[in-house]
Symmetry: D2
Subunit: 371 residues, 4 copies
């Protein structure tokens, strides 16, 4: 099996021409696409419709290219878009493809581990199970399934897990209420946060970052020292099940890429970025003109404004700003830092990282061409 990574930019969220050209040129096989991860130029908040617009545009393109319905595309491809290209960030999307037939594993495996991709979907959860232990367990099971599909056995080989999970909607809440079922919350925004926590804990359980038996509902939002350092979770009304993509390295694949990750302890953790580069064998200490940086094929960051109101002992103003949302502030700052280190602004920077990386920090994952 071979995993491929293609990165495209766009003029606006309705512009999928670069992918169209790549498909026409035979560079991307649309039937092999399993997931698309990207940044769109909205505000990344509730009223950001650039994510839906890009999703619709990509489904339209793939439906046409594959002769399938847009719904059929939505059922097999995971689309995860984070809004907000604050500061120097570039709107872009990364297409992950898997060619199951390509270059079967040599009889005598080299043992070299390369990029492995697995996806899985949970069953539909009852509204009353959203944001609860049942949700955590469901995600954990899907992560294990995606790992199996990716032929990764050692959790240490998993470096990035994207989960996109459903939340309570007005309709789902009404249906549950009619049955007398008790919801964690009926507020869609709060439900989205619960879903992110359930996803993070699910990933942590599957990867052994937290003992599964230890995860309790009263730890949600409170035990911030319990987290997954590989989870990246988003939530939205537009999905009905949890969609999971696992990225890691496996000797069962012969991809041209490898992946690494590091937790970031705070918004200034440049040391983690350099450590992640070192994991990939890229030497660029203090020098972003180093040629090794050109191997980078995708960069994913999770971050958040420190809840204490301080970064390294100094006050920040992100939480008090009534003009710019705190998530926009932090994405711009951490995006600027990572872009300066790797000399590339095509970075997936996502906020809202409850239990995803250390509190006030987050994580960085980099996919690079194997040396």
């Amino acid at each position: 099996m071979r995993a491929s990574v293609h990165r495209f930019t766009m003029r606006d969220p309705g512009d999928v021409s670069e992918l169209a050209v790549a498909i026409s040129a035979g560079k991307v096989n649309p039937a092999h696409i399993v997931a698309v991860l990207g940044k769109t130029e909205g505000n990344g908040l509730v009223n950001d419709f650039t994510r839906g617009y890009l999703t619709q545009s990509l489904k339209l393109l793939l439906a046409e290219k594959l002769g399938q319905s847009m719904d059929a595309i939505g059922e097999k491809v995971i689309f995860v878009f984070s809004g907000g290209t604050e500061g120097v960030l570039t709107p872009h999307y990364v297409v992950f493809s898997v060619d199951p037939a390509a270059q079967p594993i040599a009889q005598t495996p080299t043992g070299k581990k390369t990029l492995a991709v697995g996806t899985a979907f949970t069953p539909v959860l009852a509204p009353e199970d959203l944001g609860r232990i049942a949700h955590v367990n469901s995600v954990a099971q899907a992560v294990r399934a995606a790992m199996a599909q990716a032929k990764i056995t050692d959790p240490a080989d998993v470096h990035f897990v994207q989960v996109k999970g459903p939340c309570v909607t007005t309709e789902r809440a009404a249906e549950a209420k009619a049955r007398g079922a008790q919801l964690v919350t009926t507020d869609p925004n709060k439900s989205m946060a619960y879903t992110r926590v359930a996803g993070a804990f699910g990933v942590a359980a599957a990867l052994g970052e937290l003992p599964p038996g230890q995860i309790r509902e009263d730890a949600f939002f409170s035990r911030l020292d319990w987290f997954s350092e590989r989870a990246s979770i988003s939530s939205g009304v537009e999905v009905a099940v949890n969609e999971v993509m696992v990225l890691g390295n496996s000797a069962a694949w012969n991809s041209d890429y490898v992946i690494a990750h590091r937790p970031m302890t705070d918004a200034l953790d440049i040391n983690a970025i350099y450590a992640c580069l070192a994991d990939l064998g890229i030497a660029a200490l203090g020098d972003n003109t180093a040629t090794g940086l050109r191997q980078i094929a995708a960069a994913m960051i999770k971050c958040e404004p420190d809840a204490s109101g301080y970064v390294r002992g100094q006050r920040h103003t992100m939480w008090q700003d009534g003009d710019i949302n705190a998530q926009r502030h932090i994405r711009g700052a951490v995006g600027g830092l990572v872009a300066g280190v790797i000399a590339d602004t095509r970075i997936f920077v996502s906020g809202g990282d409850e239990h995803q990386g250390p509190p006030g920090g987050g994580m960085i994952a980099l996919v690079a061409k194997a040396a």
Copy 2:
């Protein structure tokens, strides 16, 4: 002579309690203060009143401490505040003091150059001279005067020049019009930009960065390759003359600090930041826990969104964003980068840098305790 640098933070722009405490404790002599440079938590745009609020609060404090009028304080101390603490940036101000009596230069000078501070004021310019060659020449002359006061003879020893210049106001325009005088512009916002360019060219002329004879009015805003890499210019209706502060190193001083600077070629120029640290003898390549970083006493940055709409070949969205001003975007990104390198968020990051540093880039200047 000895120059001192004290950095203070505040809860809000009306909070000058840290300086009050330092004065009461004898750590800062209010009579020695020559300039205050700071970042306030406004938007940094036209309707940012945090700059005026902090100025008024500081004048109130110093007037009380020195038994002088607030106007008298305003005439001798240069107050320059940049609004906008985007991302991780911390509201703070840096107080520059000069003790003329302290520790007179040893009879046998060591030759060691330490922080030198000089200030100067231009005469009042006629409204019709604002934004013209007369303005350039006037600033150049004041920069030379400030250098002389700072006992700096070699322009290479100058590392940061802050100029705050006047612009056309409705009243000044009316008065000029009544005399039949011709203004460059009657629009206060445009006038502010012209004043910034005149200031930058004035600094460049005084420091020999541009041959004075070469500077022409038709180069304003067009010859972007003509710039000063040490100039930081602001403009506002509240000043009547150009106020100039020169920071450099001089063997005639025995300060505890030194200063260095580097131009930044673009918003990702991490190499320039590390080079500036190296100039100061601070080794922290890729490691912001390095103890040398704790010597930093003040950090000043100029930056701007690249006018091309691209950074290192990739599109940015700063100029198209109707929700967040482009200057706020770039301050957040470059502030995040510098803060990550030096592990400190108390950074003076200022945008609007026409002819101040390379186009799309800017400059960094760092003051540090001498090793």
Copy 3:
């Protein structure tokens, strides 16, 4: 001929379910739709992609319902969306349909005039003609063609003319430059403004609001006392020709609706709103519970922040606000005023009204069920 007006709301710009239901229920014949005018919940500025998203969603729906391509839909239906539902405004769109066969005009016409709709398209203009007299004349000719289609002979019967015109793009500018052609501007944003002025002057010429011979290019942006009080112009890179919709009253139609309009002299011109209601025979002076108001089927407003910085002698802060764009401010204020008068928040409020209504003011047009 009969013109119909259907108003729909949506949950987000991708939600066209209300129209889908109306089509399925036989209430709207998709083949009869000639134009859709709406407000989407973006910022209404350059980076507002909600307009494109809604357009794509509507084209998808109509393409499916009519068995035509999305491009074919785009060529015959005019889509005009204004972003920004500031304050109390409701995201919605108004579908204008024309049934050419329905209830042919009685042999003995009653003379009663009812809603008439006409659309027309200009030929493609050369880039060098955009924003020039050729552009004005082209729009004027299309307005006359749309009037003819609407069977309106007296310009006084025209009450609203929507024009959506093309602007210079990077590609069009390059092509023109290669031919040695001279453009009014190569800046897309400025070109959009020129197109709006050319459209407004074109409408004014066709309706006799300005003597055609009087319109000169040097009046663009300067003779603000020259305007059309029925023109509503938008511009965008997405159209290649000027699309024109004329709304008026004509005895040749037997619609259930009539239309009226009034210029607004400034943002506080409540008298104009009541006058427009009176024109429609709706009595609701100071009482928005009046039943007559329920007859209103569509409300269209043009407005702008007064360039002087004052409204009725008092300063406003719209132009100085770095956090909220001036157009967003004025839409919220005038939208709140009109909504309060008519007790309905589904109002098309559009800013950027150069030469469209009195400077600092604008216009109001109301479509209502005939009494």
Copy 4:
């Protein structure tokens, strides 16, 4: 006794020159000033420092004019500023003065009621009492004291009560915690909301709008049908006690002004505005050029975005907007409506009106020259 009302505008929050001129001209006696109510051009949210800046500027002016300390001014004059001049609103402040000596009441009172002003301050409340029934009772008592000072006996003669109350701060919370005291909340923002509710309920109790015995802590934020239709409450860390100003009409005064108010049922309640004008004898139905409107000396509005997400059955987008805060939206819309009715943009429009007027609505109070 005579109450006077003077309205001033300013160029920025540091500009108090109009009041300075009025004092110098003898039009305002600085010793008579009891309260200043105003709108400043900040964002009206947590990081709005224009309120503090104007307060400091006014204290500076009055301290100088009266030869008193700024602290002394702050202890006797109530300063209440609401940030946010969205849409057409004008930054301005209204100075309320009371001349106790002027024109003593005739022996044979005419029975004509004119503007009466009373102020009062509560004692310092313990942090654990903030936002509780003790707080409600304390405000109620101060309102009664202010009514007594204003010589108003019938609560129906009270038309506007401004309360500015303290909230929990980090310091106050720490002090309480050290004593083992239990606070309603330690979050300053939540505490501000509790203080507003306690203030509203206190006013309602004093005026008999709610039976005092009925007010319970579990009604805070939940029984939205319990409200005062004359209360306008603000809260902030800068005050230590509740400051109360009562405005009403009393036969014991011979002011040139009278006051009226009306509750507003929602953001479109134009009928309430016209009713309030009618109460004052101003006829201007649908005509804002009516000369009677020129009698208006001050306009105060409370409003809020409807929590349901709907206004008159149609969706609004205020709560979902990540770019513009909901309070800014509603102030712009309701401000635009009132300004259109009264032809004046100098309106005190304040949001955040929990239990102040009907939910989703608010109130309007107008002070006018007596006919």
